[in-house]
C-alpha cells in the first residue's frame, strides 16, 4: 500500500515520499523502462503516445503527454545520474508550440529498501522559467485553483525552519 506525503521545501522544491509494496528492482525498472513509464507518467486519464528514455547519464528523455481533451504536451529531458537501483536524477523541460523550453525542472528520485518494500523520495524544483510558464501551467490545469490561504498556511508552517 502506498503512503504519500507532500512537503514543499526551501527554494520551492517539492518533496514527495512514497512507500511502494514492491521490490526495489521492480520500482527502478518501472522508472527506466519506457514501455512501463508510458503506462503511468502524467495525471489520471493522460496517455503518452511518445515515450523514449535513454536511461544512462547524458541520455535523453522525450515524452509527449496527451491530455483527455487531446492536447499534446511535449517534454524533453536529460538524465544527469542513473545509479541502479538507487537513484535517478534528470532534468525535464516543457516545450511550447515552437519547441522551445518554457521551464526546466530538476528531479531527483531515490529508492531505498524498507522491509521488503521500497521507499521512494522524489524531489523536484524549477531551475529555469520563462514568462510563458505560468500561463502554460494555468492552461494545463484549467479549473485548478489554489487559494492564497493555503499558500499562506504553507508559508507560516515553513518559515520557522
Amino acid at each position: 500500500m502506498a503512503t504519500g506525503s507532500i512537503t514543499p521545501k526551501e527554494r520551492h522544491e517539492l518533496v514527495l515520499t512514497r512507500v511502494f509494496d514492491a521490490p526495489r528492482e521492480l520500482v527502478f525498472k518501472a522508472w527506466t523502462d519506457p514501455k512501463i513509464v508510458a503506462k503511468w507518467w502524467g495525471p489520471h486519464r493522460f496517455t503518452n503516445p511518445v515515450c523514449e528514455l535513454d536511461a544512462r547519464p547524458g541520455g535523453t528523455i522525450r515524452i509527449h503527454m496527451r491530455g483527455p481533451d487531446g492536447t499534446v504536451y511535449p517534454m524533453t529531458g536529460v538524465y544527469q545520474e542513473v545509479f541502479a537501483p538507487e537513484r535517478i536524477v534528470f532534468t525535464s523541460a516543457a516545450l511550447d508550440a515552437a519547441g522551445n523550453p518554457m521551464f526546466e525542472m530538476l528531479t531527483t528520485v531515490t529508492f531505498a529498501e524498507e522491509g521488503g518494500k521500497t521507499k521512494q523520495i522524489l524531489r523536484t524544483r524549477v531551475i529555469k522559467s520563462t514568462a510563458e510558464a505560468p500561463r502554460y501551467l494555468a492552461g494545463m490545469e484549467a479549473g485548478w485553483t489554489q487559494s492564497l490561504e493555503r499558500l499562506t498556511a504553507y508559508l507560516a508552517e515553513h518559515s520557522k525552519e
Binding site: 520551492h12 514527495l16 522559467s129 489554489q146 499558500l151 508559508l155 520557522k160
Partner: protein, 125 residues
C-alpha cells in the same frame, strides 16, 4: 532564457529565503511597519529593509507612500503563480505515482499468477 525578466523566477528567488517567507507569513495576517516586522528577528533594521526591498522588487509586497509610516502589505498575484506552479506539480506527481503504484500491484499479481517458476512474468495478457 532571460531569467532576470521572468516574474516566476524572481518570485521563487525572493521566496527562497526563510526570513522573507516569515515576513510574508506575518503580512498575511495584516499590514505591518518595518519596526513591527523586524521585532521577531535578531536582525538589524537595514537587514530587514534589504529583505523588504527584495520582496517589493518581486512584487510580493507593496509599501505605503507616507515617509514615516510605510506599512507593508502582501500582494497576491505573484504568490498565485507560485501556488499554481506548486499545485500543478503536486498534482502531476501525485497522480503519476498513484498510477505507478497501480502498475506495480498489477505487475506483481501477474507474476504470482504465472505460478512457481522464477521467470519474470512476460506480459502477454
Amino acid at each position: 532564457m532571460q531569467l532576470a525578466t521572468d516574474q516566476l523566477s524572481t518570485t521563487l528567488a525572493a521566496l527562497s529565503d526563510s526570513t522573507r517567507r516569515a515576513i510574508l507569513a506575518r503580512l498575511a495576517g495584516g499590514e505591518a511597519t518595518v519596526t513591527e516586522l523586524a521585532a521577531p528577528f535578531a536582525m538589524s533594521m537595514p537587514a530587514v529593509s534589504r529583505h523588504l526591498k527584495v520582496l517589493e522588487h518581486a512584487g510580493l509586497i507593496t509599501r505605503g507612500r507616507e515617509a514615516q509610516w510605510r506599512p507593508c502589505r502582501i500582494a497576491a498575484a505573484p504568490l498565485k503563480d507560485v501556488a499554481d506552479w506548486l499545485a500543478h506539480y503536486q498534482r502531476f506527481w501525485t497522480e503519476s505515482l498513484d498510477r505507478l503504484d497501480e502498475y506495480l500491484r498489477d505487475a506483481q499479481k501477474k507474476e504470482k499468477n504465472h505460478g512457481h517458476r522464477k521467470h519474470h512474468a512476460k506480459r502477454k495478457a
